[in-house]
Assembly symmetry: C2
Homo-oligomer: 338 residues x 2
């Protein structure tokens, strides 16, 4: 059996997550039992939700156990199979975690899914045609319910969710405005991802300043917003929401370190008759087939060209993850494992 | 024509509203034109939303104009009629404002509605069988969508909205918990209004303390919440919401004076996958007939016995209104005008 490098959660963060929260170990992959397959991972996905799971706090997910391999989405290929439904060489997507190989009980529903890489690159199944893409789809289609001609805003615009959101929103005839950090990301959002405008939040010290920029970029106000960040961005967007606006709350990345990030003027929820709704896309598996079909078509036809930020080798995962939490990635953050 | 005492908005509040923002004047009622009726008001309704209209700020309603009669709901009787649909002696409900008489263009849709006082007292049409009742109905039925066995919480529990909410929630088989200020109100909520429990927020200095009390009163967590207040109460309730909980945002009474009342941990919206939705009941006229029918039946059959707090004479309206904003009223605040 091959040797398997793994990264464990060694201890929980106190405040900001740091590299020493993680620990690299090497172990042998166990022999396969009936129904199991051995998957060699090509890519590991790094996502902001992982930070939430590192805390031992009430959250939507069971906390990541200390001393165990960090969880995470992976794509790879079957290298050994004790399961009639999977053959060696099959390309698969699953939740293999921060390691080079995983042993999967492939009969468990949702544990492993074969994917077609004819028109869609394997890595896209961790981004645009995977959980981040479906996340954008669910927030836009099921919570925001956009109408053609409305104005949509998304924060973390050049990330995996934001870029999918833009393609989906434009396909529905909406003015689509991004918020991102830095001029390069903003230029990329407009030039490559199809955003009508993109605001560099780093140019703004407070919500009032960002709100002014939003007013320029959204002359008709904001009807739908996909919130990935929280804090100042959400405050600024709230101040520009039109009556009956809808906000899909997907992330509060800025708050994971424990610092409270209040909504400063919640009275706007009433004044503008807004709907704010939080969701976790893995609780809505019923929409995945429809969402993945649309997202796959957008990627295969070149209408959604998500950018990837690829760290090389499992050892690079912790630093890449910490950079993601600080917005240092540019596009979907992946780790290449083989 | 009879003389008509009126209370105008004389100037806008700076911070807290004060009695000198208002001005009493006396004028003659004008002669009726075609289609108009003259209504002598029996009761004026005082409601928290009026405070919002006193500001010249972006809000859901056009601001109350300075120098004009304060707007407000009224019930009374027709004392003169130039309209074939209304006869002298008809009992009517309308938006007559802070004055003894109003001249109404009775053909305008929604301007004046005849009501039946056989089984329902006239004043109830300003409370349980009027806008406050429909407000409770809309928030509960259309936003919260309760299921039997769930737990519902309402702040300002003994007010017109809160008492209607309790009757409607109990009728749907929900555990119903109130939040009110002081032991008398809490006892009344449980003994007379049918609440299963009522928490005295004045016993709690902060959201953490109130949250503990909510845990005791809501052993299965909170599934639906009707927010009339904001601030500490909303923070405490958010901390006890179950996954997929729904919050109808109807009032932010504590915030009207301009002091920001943030939501301290909006990440809970995501963590607990909550829906928060603001609404204004006058924008949903399509539900009024259904809502008023249920509310009228609850009152006529004694299942909803709303308490009223009645100030005597138009001159008493400003102080009664300022008291309402501070929670000094006990039940639906009315002013008896004749």
């Amino acid at each position: 059996m091959p040797q398997n490098k793994q990264i464990l959660l060694d201890n929980r963060p106190e405040g900001e997550a740091v590299a020493s929260n993680f620990k690299l170990v090497v172990s042998d992959t166990p022999a396969l039992r009936d129904g199991q397959v051995l998957v060699r991972h090509h890519f590991l996905s790094l996502d902001p939700y992982m930070r939430g799971r590192m805390n031992d706090a009430k959250s939507y997910a069971v906390p990541q156990a200390v001393g165990e391999t960090m969880g995470g989405g992976t794509v790879g290929e079957v290298v050994e199979s004790n399961n009639a439904k999977f053959a060696v060489g099959d390309k698969v997507v699953g939740m293999g975690g921060w390691q080079q190989y995983s042993v999967v009980d492939a009969d468990l529903p949702g544990a492993l899914r074969k994917v077609d890489t004819t028109h869609i690159p394997l890595s896209a199944y961790l981004g645009a045609v995977g959980m981040p893409g479906v996340t954008a789809w669910y927030g836009l289609v099921k919570i925001i319910e956009p109408k053609a001609g409305e104005t949509m805003v998304v924060s973390a615009a050049t990330g995996a969710v934001g870029s999918a959101f833009a393609a989906l929103s434009k396909a529905r005839g909406c003015r689509t405005v991004g918020i991102a950090g830095g001029p390069d990301k903003c230029k990329y959002a407009v030039d490559e991802l199809g955003f009508d405008a993109c605001i560099d939040y780093k140019l703004h010290q407070d919500a009032a300043s960002l709100s002014k920029a939003l007013k320029e970029a959204c002359p008709n106000g904001i009807d739908g917003h996909f919130e990935n960040v929280g804090g100042m961005v959400l405050d600024a967007v709230l101040s520009r929401m039109n009556a009956f606006g809808r906000i899909a709350v997907c992330g509060m990345i800025a708050g994971y370190n424990g610092a409270p990030l209040p909504i400063t003027y919640p009275a706007l929820i009433l004044i503008s008759r807004l709907k704010l709704q939080g969701f976790i896309v893995t609780e809505h598996l019923e929409v995945w087939p429809e969402a993945l079909k649309e997202l796959g078509t957008l990627v295969a036809t070149g209408k959604l060209k998500p950018r990837e930020s690829i760290a090389i080798g499992l050892e690079a995962a912790p630093e890449a993850f910490l950079g993601l939490l600080k917005g240092r990635n540019f596009g979907k953050q992946l780790v290449k494992l083989s």
